[in-house]
Each structure stands twice: as structure tokens, then as C-alpha cells.
């Protein structure tokens, strides 16, 4: 315990130096900005800013880059809530209830609870990393291909619960999502699948392209033919910050979201994306009146937002303790570290303690800064909704186009968001929910790859999924959830959950 405090004080000593405070602030500010702009993601930004950090010392550089990353998580929620465009997989869920809240004139409350929940989650996650970082590393090693596949199965069961309308339509959308995820070069054999010989499809469909089209562009189209939506903007915006009642309603969700997000964030292979989805499912299941979900339930914003931020932070654990990046942004951080002459790995903690603990302390400092940056600005963001649509829509379209182009520099990606936008518009018109499709898309790829990997390693024996205790446990949970959903005796109750 003494170690814990001396380590933390070493960390804060590093993080609170004037230069590092300034860099953390700069990182958070840039991160928030790019998070708010639809499409411009942290990956492109960090890659672009890498050369600028050459002149800095490694600790400062990494503090700034990390600030960009979690700043973007904050900013991304703002766009998801205000204009219904999730820039990343993790803010898909926030858009569900957050945007509904905005349409009801509660945008300020949604943004406020997102910021406060994120801050709480960030604080807890920082402590988790500091206290348990090293032992938690083992969790990442327990999850082999079989466990991962079972986790994804459980995730898909969550996806069913996400749906607002008919359960059949939700399952159909999940399957479409899974199918879309199989487009591209097959990982094991290198064969191309469903690419029609088009070279730009050979690496599959980019998540950002799909999400931006299905949510962002489709939302713009829907608003254009929907005069009713326009009135909402001119409604009184109402309170900007959550009140006592809101807090009472959402504090438990924040805590649950933090726990779920922290655990899933540690898992390899981008486990963090599951966090917000899992949290949303849990909240919806626990709610007294699940029908409120999808119609602006504050718990539906508070829980997933906390899970999102907690996961974003605990996903540093595999990077800092093992040197193994769990997702693309962390892979970029590995690059940033190596450029600065620090080879990430198990030795970082002992060889560069000021870097290790400095970064951890700076995460908390950064979270505090984000709260300070974001809360006073809630009013400003909300006023954005008052911008006339004739000005806002072209701006959104432009930012989407620029943002998507900046990811892979592919003109076809820009055309694809238009195509998916059209598809998304048709889906909305026909009463299909896009969120389960996106979850199917995200999980489909991971699920297929891990299924095949597990079967290759077990030489084709399906028993591997039941023989391994963690995998069996996850499958059992998924089964229970499914049975609960299908049991005739509670069928009536379930129907109330899913159909209106």
C-alpha cells in the first residue's frame, strides 16, 4: 500500500509539472475538438500529430497523445447526442437515448450526465490501473480464442436487447451486420470474399464508413424530409445541467457502467467496444420501466458513457504492463513510444517508472480538465442545435466527407458513406434499427476469426468451447439470457420490452 501511494505521488509529480499540465490540456482540447467533428477520429489525429511530438520528451508527448484519445471519447459523445452521429463504435449506444433526450429539449442534461459519468468512471479507472494494473494483466492472458468467441456470442445476445422495435427485425439487422463484416480478405487463407473483384473492398468495410453513413448521413436525410424535427430545435433548450432527480435516477447506472467498462476494457482485441453495449443492456434489464429506453432514458446515457470512458482508460493496461496494444489507437501509441525510444513491454514499469506512473496520473488530471473544459461549454454545444439546418447540414456532410477521407485517403470511402446513408434512410423508413446492425458488424468479424482460430487450435473439436471454464461460463450466461428472452411464461413481459 505504501508503494501504491509513493508510486502515485511520483506520477503526480510528473503529471503536475507545468509543461505536462500544458500538454495534457492541449491534448484534451484537441481531442474534444476532433471528437466533436464527425468523422475526424483519434487515429488520424494522433498519426498526424506524431511528428510534432518529436521535439518533446517522451513522457510529455505520450501525455498529450493520451489526452487526445480520451478527449475524443468525450467529444464523440457530444456529436452522438446532438446530431446522432456516433464517430466510434463506443458511442453508438449513446446516440440511442442521448439523441432522443436532445430532441426532447434535454440536450444539456444528456451532455452534463455524460461528462459527469465519464469523469467518475475516469477517476475509478485511474485508481484501478494504478492499484491493479499488473495483476489484471493476467485477465488478458486468460482470454484465448475460445473465450473470446463465447464472449462475442454473449455480445450478440445483448444486441437483441438493444432493439427498440420488433425482435425479428432486430435479429435480421444483426445478421446483416455479421454478413457485412465478412466482406474482405479472409484472414486465414487470404482469399477475397464478397468483394466483386473491387480492390477497395479487399480490406473489408471500415467501421467508421458504415457508422457515419448509416447514422450520420441517414439522419441528415431523415431530418430533411421531416419538418417536425425542425421545431424541436427552436424549443426552449431547458436546463443545461442534471438536477437532483436526474442524479438520483442515474448514479447507480454510472457505477455499474464503470465496473462493466473497466473489466471489458482490459480484454485484448478491442473488448472495450462491448462495454457500452453491455452496460445499456444491463440498464434496460434492470429498469422498472424498460419502455423508456430508446426514448430518452437518462440511465441509457449515464451507464454506457461511464462504461465507454472506463474502458478507454483501462485499455491502457495491456499496453502499459505488457506492451501489447488491444486496439488500433493503442497500436499507434506503441508506435509513438518506439519513436521516442521507449520499447513498450513488461519492463516499462520498472525501467521508466516516471513514464508509467506519470501517464497514469495524467489520465486523472486529463479527466478533470475535460470536465472543466466541457461543463461550461455544454451551453455552447447546445446552442449549436439552434444553428439553422440549412447551415448545419452542409457542414455535417462536409465534415463527414473530410473525416472519412482522412482515415484511409480513399475516395471510395466518401462514396460509400453516401451509399450507406441511403441504405440507412431506407432502413429508418421501414422501421429497422441500425444499432443492432452495427453491433453485429463489430462483433461478427471478431467472432468469426476467433471461432476459426479456436477450432484450428483444437483441431476441429467443438468441445473446446465447453471444456474451457471461462468460455463455458460465458456461453452459459448467453444461454440463460436467451432462454429468459424466449421462455413463454415471461414472453408477455418480453414483448413489452421489445415492442411498444
Amino acid at each position: 500500500m505504501g508503494d501504491f501511494f509513493s508510486n502515485l505521488s511520483l506520477g503526480f509529480g510528473v503529471a503536475l509539472s507545468l509543461q505536462n499540465l500544458g500538454l495534457a490540456f492541449l491534448g484534451c482540447l484537441v481531442g474534444t475538438l476532433i471528437g466533436v467533428l464527425p468523422g475526424v477520429g483519434p487515429i488520424a489525429t494522433i498519426a498526424m500529430l506524431l511528428p510534432i511530438t518529436f521535439g518533446l520528451d517522451p513522457v510529455g508527448a505520450l501525455i498529450m497523445l493520451a489526452g487526445i484519445y480520451y478527449g475524443a471519447q468525450y467529444g464523440g459523445s457530444t456529436t452522438a447526442i446532438l446530431v446522432n452521429i456516433p464517430g466510434e463504435a463506443t458511442s453508438v449506444v449513446t446516440a440511442l437515448d442521448g439523441h432522443q433526450m436532445a430532441r426532447q429539449g434535454r440536450a444539456g442534461v444528456a451532455l452534463g450526465i455524460a461528462a459527469i459519468g465519464s469523469f467518475f468512471a475516469g477517476t475509478v479507472a485511474t485508481l484501478v490501473i494504478a492499484a491493479l494494473g499488473a495483476p489484471l494483466t493476467k485477465l488478458a492472458l486468460i482470454f484465448g480464442p475460445a473465450e473470446y468467441f463465447s464472449l462475442m456470442v454473449m455480445g450478440l445476445v445483448f444486441a437483441v436487447v438493444l432493439a427498440r422495435g420488433s425482435i425479428l427485425k432486430a435479429i435480421a439487422m444483426i445478421l446483416v451486420g455479421v454478413l457485412l463484416s465478412t466482406v474482405g480478405t479472409d484472414l486465414e487463407t487470404g482469399q477475397e470474399r464478397m468483394t466483386f473483384g473491387l480492390s477497395f473492398l479487399s480490406d473489408g468495410i471500415d467501421f467508421a464508413v458504415l457508422a457515419m453513413g448509416i447514422f450520420g448521413i441517414a439522419e441528415v436525410m431523415r431530418n430533411l424530409d421531416n419538418t417536425e424535427a425542425r421545431d424541436i430545435v427552436h424549443k426552449a433548450i431547458g436546463r443545461l445541467l442534471p438536477n437532483k432527480e436526474d442524479f438520483k435516477q442515474s448514479y447507480a447506472s454510472v457505477i455499474r457502467g464503470t465496473v462493466i467498462g473497466s473489466i471489458l476494457g482490459i480484454l485484448p482485441g478491442n473488448g472495450a467496444v462491448l462495454g457500452p453495449f453491455a452496460s445499456y443492456t444491463v440498464e434496460k434489464k434492470l429498469a422498472k420501466d424498460p419502455r423508456r429506453f430508446g426514448r430518452g432514458a437518462i440511465e441509457g446515457v449515464a451507464g454506457p458513457e461511464s462504461a465507454n470512458n472506463a474502458g478507454a482508460q483501462t485499455s491502457f493496461i495491456p499496453l502499459l504492463t505488457l506492451g501489447i496494444p488491444p486496439n488500433a489507437v493503442m497500436a499507434l501509441m506503441v508506435g509513438a513510444m518506439t519513436i521516442h525510444g521507449i520499447v513498450p513491454g513488461p519492463q516499462v514499469m520498472t525501467r521508466n517508472p516516471n513514464l508509467f506512473w506519470g501517464m497514469i496520473a495524467s489520465m486523472w488530471v486529463g479527466n478533470l480538465m475535460l470536465l472543466v473544459i466541457n461543463l461550461p461549454m455544454v451551453g455552447m454545444w447546445v446552442r449549436l442545435l439552434k444553428v439553422p439546418y440549412r447551415l448545419m447540414f452542409p457542414a455535417i456532410l462536409m465534415f463527414c466527407a473530410i473525416g472519412i477521407y482522412s482515415i484511409n485517403s480513399l475516395p471510395t470511402d466518401v462514396m460509400f458513406i453516401a451509399l450507406f446513408g441511403l441504405v440507412g434512410y431506407l432502413l429508418i423508413k421501414l422501421g429497422f434499427e441500425p444499432a443492432p446492425m452495427l453491433l453485429g458488424f463489430v462483433l461478427g468479424k471478431l467472432m468469426e476469426e476467433n471461432l476459426r482460430r479456436a477450432l484450428i487450435i483444437s483441431r476441429g473439436s467443438l468441445a473446446t468451447f465447453i471444456e474451457r471454464p471461462v468460455s463455458a461460463g460465458l456461453l452459459a450466461v448467453a444461454l440463460v439470457l436467451l432462454v429468459l428472452a424466449l421462455l413463454p411464461s415471461i414472453r408477455k413481459g418480453r414483448d413489452e420490452v421489445f415492442t411498444e
Binding site: 484472414l187 480492390s199 479487399s202 505488457l322
Partner: protein
Amino acid sequence: MKKIALTLAAIGLATAAQAQTYPQRPITMIVPFAAGGPTDVIARIVGDHMSRTLGQQIVIENVAGAGGTTGITRAAQAQADGYTIMMGHMGTHGAAPALYPNLKYDPTKDFAPIGLAAGTPIVIVAKKDFPANDLKGFVDYMKTNGEKVNMAHAGVGSVSHMTGIFFNAVVKTKPTMVAYRGTGPALNDLMANTVDYMTDQIVNVAPQIQGGNIKAFAIATAERSPALPNLPTTKEAGLDGFEVSAWNAVFAPKGTSPEIAKKLSDALVKALDDESTRKRLLDLGGVIPSGAERSPEALQKLVESEVARWTPVLKAAGATAE
């Protein structure tokens, strides 16, 4: 006829003038892999110093996909004015013709070689619990139990995939191959004892070897690496014919004027002589090419010999990506 000659002369003059004032605006260097990987890091370190020599920023553009061939195809088709160059590597300019039958460029003909930047040696690593403690024991085990063993790699066309196939061909073994999306997840499962071994670039595996999470059998270079001084070379450990390092080199599109190519290649050589650039590359476990290896001609020869080396190995293993 005279007209054509005049036009040609005029073009010649124009390009010469262009070459003299080159570079006047930022240069784009296409890196055909995601930001953060070994090739990207090397490109950024070398590009940083070249920018200072040339007086113009070299902007790194990551165009990932299809084992790097997407980015190289784009760069090969760019205008040959010296403002688009690329960082190719062993895969894109050595193995690609065998892996991708529909490849839209020919590594030996469609480029103006600028020079070799840096290579990263390949290390043979295995899970901590592997029942062998040196390369000889490992090779013996593989010869008798090959089919029971799982080899991990970072996806078809990746360095670990190609060098793994090469190793298996040298040792004459046929393990089960397990593909991962990138080195990170593959290493994760290697550390968790889920898969048995892999061959990968030193920069990716050295920290885990030093941390005692995986074991290393040998490094596939002629000399030991200062990053892992205790690790024997493959030759020292008694295995001939497995010497390979993942080289990275700068290319320009075919038709780039020799003057511009020379300016670029001089800037590259200068970067490789710079003390702090060298230190950064060496910290990665990188191998910096010496005198004669740095010329564009040497790079052209290297590409030709690499295509000749990889094609039969990969074809025999039945590895194609289309």
C-alpha cells in the same frame, strides 16, 4: 519530326529546371501500413531527418491494405515528379508477386529505387512452456512433431507469415498455421501458451523476451543484435539457410528524373549517417545498411534477388492471397 524533337528538348529542359529547384513543396511519403508499425516508425524517423536536408516537410501518408500492396499500387501510379515517394519493404517488393497473382505493379520494373533505409532482424520465438530450450532442440522437435505444433502469424502477407513459411521450408516441417490480425494479438496468445511459436521482427518481440514472457531460439542475421546480445544467430545455433531480415526501402515511381532521385537518395544517406537518427533506429533493434548497400543500384539488385528468393518458397507453400 523537328517539332517533336523540339518538344522533347523543351520537356527535357523543363524537367531539368524542375529538378534543380526540387523540392518546392511538401513531399508525400506513402507508408503502405497502419501508423505505429515497424515500417511506419522507420519511415517517420528517416523522413524526419530527410525533411531537414531537403528543406521541405516529408508528410507520411498511411495507406494500409492488402499486405501493403494497396498503398504501393497507388504510389506506383502517382506522378513521377518526386513529390510522391514510398516506403516499400520485403513484402511489397519481394513477396507480393507470389502472394498476389493480380498485382498491378512489378517490383523489379515499375520503380525508381532511392535506397535502403533500415531492416529489422527476424527472431524465432516460442511460448514459455515449449519443450525445447535451444534452436537445435526446437528444430528436432519440429521435425518429428510438426503437425501437432501451432505456428502463429500476423495475417497472410505479413512479415511473420512469410518468414514463418520460409522457416518451415528450411526445416521441412508442416505445422498448423493460426492467423491473427496483427502482431499484438498473436503475441498475446503466444504469451498465454495458446499457440506454440512464431517468427517476427525483433522490435515486436524483444520486450517480451527480455521480460521472460516468451523464449527466443535464435536471430536470423549474420551477426548478433546489440538489443539481444545473448541470443545466438541461426548459423551459430546450427541452422544454415535461414537468414532473413525485414528490410524497408525508399522508392519513387518509375520515370522520376535521375536528378530528383539523386537528391532524395543523398538525403536518405545523410539521414542514415546522422547520430540521433542512427540511435533511434538502433534502439528499435534495427540494422542500418552500410556504405555499398545504400546505393539505388544495390536496392534494385536486392529487389530482384528478393523476388527470386520468395517466389518459389511461397508458391511451394501454396500461399496466395487472391
